[in-house]
Subunit: 324 residues, 2 copies
């Protein structure tokens, strides 16, 4: 069961609407409570995707992601087409995290009367995501309601999915792309400014790293997570699932122009991948193939029962550590 | 892509809120338009479930169903536990329609602040549906929003799913259970009365006919549909998918006490099955096994290009036909 990353970005900026939202902590509490109540009626709800063994060695990977108007996006930030595209990418990125081959997606659309004139644009945004990922629309459900909402369920398969739990001491940590653009765009909007074009683009038109992920799995990656909660938070998720100690090198984090490393690692709404892999990973080959950077941002230092992440942070007055 | 059945029940009764909703016709128009825009980016969106061939003869059946507060249910009609149970059944019933073996479900929950005190009840309602169907919770997504909404995605498998399209001349039409309770309950609520207990129960605690459907498939059923749009409407769907002419015998429709056959066949929100099968179907064996009636309500009279449904209706002043 996944936590909506949007809260992290918007909670810290948008006090006026905070009552509408749960903090990430409170959401985790609810999910933990659900898991407790369901007991054996639910499988383990951690992870980017749910896995279903289908027999004959086939494994279904699936994930659901909801985007709600006023919670995950604002109608004045994005075009309707971008809203729908982005809602699909949020779900497709979960398939990328496990390096699955996409099979398709389902769209449950809550379409208020005042959004009906934008129905074509929304459909075209879904089409953009389908065209890009090769995962056709399998079906869906259409409903009325007060706020626009898109619940996107994605389906993929893999004989050997990547998981968060495979990182081993000696692995390096690699991140795809350049970070911090989405949070910079949201910060600009929330303070009444127009975001830089590159920042806006990274928020409005993220690419799910589906092909990149399958390349990384074939090339020896041991663990993977998409950093939709931000690099720092998802490094903790990976450390905890793998039972390892991770050391991040903030100076190495690839940032978009105008973004500090600390802002970049806190930035949610990213759909880049953080993977663990042995040091001999052919990252030059990756960059040549996909045209985006693959950067070493840390290393796995050893086993650690609960999982921990450390980094040297340049604080006013000296250096310090933070860990999670 | 499925049409929400709730509109049919509530549209005809609840004029005050109609602006919030689309008529079924308008919803079909939007879905047809989406299919047009997506072209080859979408598979055929008809049918109770989407089918995905996984290779090695395995076939995934999946469906999504959204239940939105104020559209599909009202908080003063049902307990939170019933609301969640019912939302799951609406989706599970699509697996029953194709006689799939359930693999699990995903829950995308939009949980407003004012609903947080009911989170346990909602989880328990999901648990009730899981326990009953044997489909565990695989994962989900939790979000804030203004209105409670549950988007439930279900997963099943079958080597030879039942479809709407297999009915042949000579088949009889059978329906499970007794009809008309849900619409009678909604009518009572909307006119300020308390529904009869049996009617309320049929609305609040429907059973997805999962085991029944697999028995019917094994016993020779040729086509199947769940009658969530009402028996009359879904008989038309079956006739049109199979390309046959169906004759319904309204006098034979098994009605709940206090419900007329005409109201029973118009009643949406039903999760019973309508199946076509040869006349030698062992319906006595079915009733003995499952403890619910399986009733012959019509027959397939012949092939018909577009599909048509006829019935003799007792109108004031004489008999007449209707067809769709």
């Amino acid at each position: 069961m996944e936590i909506e990353s949007a809260h992290q970005v918007t909670d810290s900026h948008e006090n006026g609407r905070r009552a509408q939202r749960l903090r990430p902590g409170a959401e985790f509490d609810i999910i933990r409570r659900f898991q407790e109540l369901w007991g054996p009626l639910a499988v383990d709800l951690g992870g980017d995707c749910a896995e279903v063994s289908l027999g004959k060695g086939l494994r279904l990977l699936t994930s659901t992601d909801v985007s709600v108007e006023g919670v995950h996006f604002r109608a004045d930030w994005l075009t309707p087409r971008e809203i729908a595209y982005r809602a699909c990418v949020a779900a497709l990125s979960d398939l990328a995290a496990v390096a699955a081959e996409p099979l398709g997606l389902m769209l449950a659309l809550t379409l208020p009367e005042r959004w009906r004139t934008h129905a074509d644009d929304l459909a075209n945004g879904v089409g953009d995501a389908v065209l890009d990922s090769g995962a056709p629309v399998l079906g869906g459900d259409l409903s009325m309601g007060r706020d626009l909402a898109l619940a996107v369920t994605v389906y993929g398969e893999s004989a050997s999915p990547l998981r968060r739990s495979g990182a081993r001491p000696g692995d390096l940590l690699y991140v795809t792309g350049r970070l911090g653009g989405p949070a910079a765009a949201v910060t600009a909007w929330l303070s009444g400014r127009t975001p830089a074009l590159a920042h806006r683009h990274s928020f409005a038109a993220p690419r799910p790293r589906l092909r990149e992920a399958r390349w990384l799995r074939r090339s020896g990656a041991t663990a993977s997570v998409d950093i939709s909660d931000g690099l720092a938070a998802d490094a903790r998720n990976l450390a905890s699932a793998s039972g390892v100690e991770i050391w991040l090198d903030l100076d190495a984090v690839p940032c978009m122009m105008g973004v500090t490393p600390l802002d970049a690692v806190a930035s949610g709404e990213e759909y880049e991948l953080l993977v663990a892999a042995p040091p001999d990973l052919d990252h030059v080959g990756f960059e040549r193939r996909f045209g985006i950077p693959l950067t070493v941002v840390g290393r796995v230092d050893g086993w650690h029962e609960k999982g921990v992440v450390g980094a040297r942070v340049d604080l006013p007055g000296g250096y310090d550590h933070y860990s999670g």
